[in-house]
Homo-oligomer: 228 residues x 2
């Protein structure tokens, strides 16, 4: 009855892929799903058919797959667990934010609801995790904030880093050592299409230039207030 961690991982991968679909697309293609999960395409097909059986996903042969509302509910619950555990590992255990992903990945499947609630209480019901990723409430609601990336926010205006949408440890260490973690106030000074880069003014007026791809992973709030 309760979904295996394999099932939970498929739901998560579908959710993430759905959010990244271009323009009109509504279905995640099987090949992409199989690739992100690191399994053979046939395996993904078989598993997705099983998900469809149990009402967690809608599957159209040769077209792709998307989550049903109950699949989304499950995925949200799982995201909540993951993000609370990451927050906990960083804030309570004092692990670095670039080394918590793996442990959280494993623990989210096995920890009891009771322990999750306890952690939620301890942290004071946080709205987002150390990366700024929003934490769904127990009933699956997302606290929604309108965020912009460093590619779209206004120039020469103080903005607060709110979220870093990449879990890669090296990238996170880069963000940290340049004082670009959620909560920091920065300003975009210029964008250059040709060199594909963005110039920033950071803490203590430090200047730095980062690539557009990296810039797109830093989400900010336009006002100068606290991002959390």
């Amino acid at each position: 009855m309760l979904p295996s961690s394999t099932v939970e991982n498929y739901l998560k991968a579908i959710y993430v892929a759905e959010a990244q679909l271009e323009n009109g697309q509504r279905l995640v293609p099987m090949g992409q799903l199989a690739a992100t999960l690191g399994v053979a395409p046939g395996t993904a097909t078989t598993m997705v058919k099983a998900l469809a059986e149990s009402g967690l996903a809608a599957y159209e042969p040769y077209n792709g797959v998307r989550l049903t509302s109950s699949g989304e509910r499950l995925a949200a619950r799982r995201r909540r667990r993951h993000r609370l555990i990451e927050s906990f590992l960083v804030q309570v255990i004092g692990m670095n934010w670039d080394e918590v992903h793996e442990d959280a990945e494993q623990m989210e499947h096995v920890v009891s609801d009771r322990l999750i609630d306890r952690i939620d209480d301890m942290l004071g019901h946080p709205e987002s995790d150390p990366h700024g990723d929003p934490i769904p409430t127990a009933d699956g609601q997302l606290p929604r904030r309108p965020l912009e990336t460093l590619l779209t926010c206004p120039l020469h205006t103080p903005v607060t880093v709110a979220r870093v949408t990449d879990q890669d440890a090296a990238f996170l260490r880069f963000i940290e050592s340049n004082h670009l973690k959620p909560g920091e106030t920065i300003e975009v000074e210029a964008r250059d299409e040709v060199s594909d880069s963005v110039r920033l003014k950071g803490r203590r007026d430090a200047r730095m230039t980062i690539g557009a791809r990296a810039a797109s992973k830093l989400l900010v709030t336009a006002d100068g207030g606290r991002g959390l």
Copy 2:
């Protein structure tokens, strides 16, 4: 290469059963192993043969099974993880000692060594968990203390509760509400063979009588000092 949680559970069950073997017995019978793991006898046979293949257990057909030294090493590592996690859940997260077993049971299989070490540091390298069970060191050594049960300790002498060898939640709550947790100082006033019971003087001279079976699960140190 790294053992599945199923393998770890078999090792644990064999270890516990070995420690409980009567007098001259050196091997754990298959039937008993299967029963404690809740699997069919044939399943245990198959699995134990696989353990023997990989050098973790010594198996004698129709006689039984015991751990090899490398099996014991693995079991000790696993016990260390379990007990550190239980200690952590009680002392840091504030869960009750009667509700942590299940979570620890799951988490011990998945958390990273890095996190275990971090927990060990946070707790100050404790020698025993909240039940008083000793925590093996990272290289598998057990801090050994000579303990007696309430059935064997001297009468009319202050002793300190050091360990409670039963994980049953109801039993743990009983111990707690009667102030018999590890660290408490108590005295055995009398033992009665016929009624199969033991009379105690506890905190603030409270008198209570418990059954011999329960008394055998309370381990104490003869001196009046702190048990931890």
